[in-house]
Symmetry: none
Subunit: 414 residues, 2 copies
Amino acid sequence: MRAEIIAVGSELLLGQITNTNAKFISAELADIGVDVHYQTVVGDNPARLEEAIRIAEERADLIIFSGGLGPTKDDLTKETIARHIGVELESNNQALLSIQAYFKRTGRHMTENNKKQALVLEGSTVLENRFGMAPGMAISANERTYLLLPGPPHELEPMFRDEGIPYLQRLSGIQEIIVSTVVKFFGIGEAELEYKVQGLLASQTNPTIAPLASKDAVTLRVTAKARTAEDARQLIEPVLCELHNQVGEFIYGTDDDTLSSKAASLLTGAGLTISAAESLTAGLFTSLLAEEPGISASLKGGMTVYDIEAKTKQLGVDSQLLETYGTVSAECAEALAEKIRDRFQTDIGIGLTGVAGPDTHDGQPAGTIWIGLSYKKKTESYKLRLSGARNTNRLRAANFALYYLIRKLESEKS
Amino acid sequence: MRAEIIAVGSELLLGQITNTNAKFISAELADIGVDVHYQTVVGDNPARLEEAIRIAEERADLIIFSGGLGPTKDDLTKETIARHIGVELESNNQALLSIQAYFKRTGRHMTENNKKQALVLEGSTVLENRFGMAPGMAISANERTYLLLPGPPHELEPMFRDEGIPYLQRLSGIQEIIVSTVVKFFGIGEAELEYKVQGLLASQTNPTIAPLASKDAVTLRVTAKARTAEDARQLIEPVLCELHNQVGEFIYGTDDDTLSSKAASLLTGAGLTISAAESLTAGLFTSLLAEEPGISASLKGGMTVYDIEAKTKQLGVDSQLLETYGTVSAECAEALAEKIRDRFQTDIGIGLTGVAGPDTHDGQPAGTIWIGLSYKKKTESYKLRLSGARNTNRLRAANFALYYLIRKLESEKS
């Protein structure tokens, strides 16, 4: 079954609202294995809507509409479809009763135009609207299926999930289901990742492997189709293994894992405590860790040591060391990590220092960052050369610190 | 000019991401009076993309594409358009240099497929990508204009606003210009704000006043149309005055101001220093301040005091006080503010303590938060009762601390 989604509403074309309905419907259809080939948005204009329907009929067996079922003159979806497929509109008793009940319940006056909402396509299956007044409907004609849904997402989503999807499953006798796992990467760009696993990407058909675009993360989505969820998972498993073999050092988790949730679960799982001394990130590292409930078992605290005085007087870093090596140095990062670890008496100390930008600092270009990691009396440091804007660099520095921490904790485990 | 927007990407058809680009582009086009008649989404499939282009050409003069300009094999937008309108792709030197510079700067290996991103349509106007690698481009052919934009919103939005819109204005000879000022609010809900200024909202036609939907902020956008920017600004000015009269206490800035940029400029402007002791926010407050370049003149540092021991042993809060009042109390917040102020010898000390959630703590429900503010030996505190999820509460707490700091600094100024 090939589907097309047509969202109707001039407010979408004016950029006043985002078409979240298309995303929702598409994701639900993907889960039952229905391919969506096009999404279309058209305004409250019957001629253009009919043109969109004609085009959709040439390339889809299932056309799902959202919007245009309301009481106003602008709401023309069902009228246009009725004319187009040649059926009448008839008043639906059940829908009319619930509209009347709605007005009685809220004590508001029911104006005549609200009766329009109870009109449905003759011969259609009516879908109840539990969160609004306009019912949905489904009808088959000319070897196509037309499914009409109300525009407001809080009405559309439960209606489509609870009535639309089962209707489509009955209609098509679809048995196949889709299961996917998102694999999350850090420390590698999208292009480089794809280059490294190109053989795997090219050879897979079920499951498929595809990058999932995202601002903050590099990911691969592994998607399998099968008769049962268990069968699908068995198809996915060997692909995950192969990804770990090929690019495992850059994988930090799957699905809902974030760098901070992964680090937090490794820390609390191992019963380890942590503290951090932060210069350029100024508390961002500890703040990211604190996003995780239950982290208080591991996160004792930290210091923001933004200027030299804070580093020396407050934290106790040797001022001679800073004079010799500068604050943007492996030595400074390691000293920060060790001093904070000793001070808060934690198993692990993290030190973050560097040049966020936009200006250079201590003769070092913006984006030069050192991360110190002191773990049970052994201290190491990592250098980053980032090229983003100031706050991208700060966030990436904190994320790299989480990433190195995760790698350290994983290697200690094994 | 009739426009159609074609978003390219299978991830949209799978419902993995929402098509926010279509909304953004549509809203920008509405501002310059260009009508959008259709939005279309098509997958990474050249045959279907070409079909979508053919259909769009029959109903639009301007076709704007988003997505499919990246380095991977799936990225096919410009290749398909080149074939369709019959031009070659050529390597753009400027784009190639900036891609190479990007890899050099970050010390990462540039794989061969990245060169593909520097290919542009022969004869097109190239639009610089300041936040990514793939350049945009604009070209006219067959009495149509084709505008190609990268898919990631943080790349597309500045490119379209700063280069795409002026390009279209030049192209169409649009004379009227649009100037808008976004007024930013904190500490008031959108519905309440709209209720308070409903008279103003209803009476305005030029400039118009409208809420600008945003996940994180309550804003009003004041938009004027005029022949010159100066004329437009003169229309806007009295409306801003009236907003200040009616709801000034909730206004913290305009346009690109954020709570942290406003607080930072007030601090550095007054030559005041600041430090913070943070429990539930765990460094988020100092980290937000550190987003501003030049803040090192004012921000000395801070402490994350996540557990009781950190509060008492590290920062020196009286453990008797914590036993008497608990850590979720005005007394604790004020003690944190005073202790950190004294320790870092700053003019201002901020203390943040409370229950982020999801669980209750010290017998207090999630969302109970105290903010202490110590300014030149005078200390006060503010109570919040928030109802969000854990990290929404943490962020709101840090933002409220910035808001109270701004109000304090503003009142000291006047």
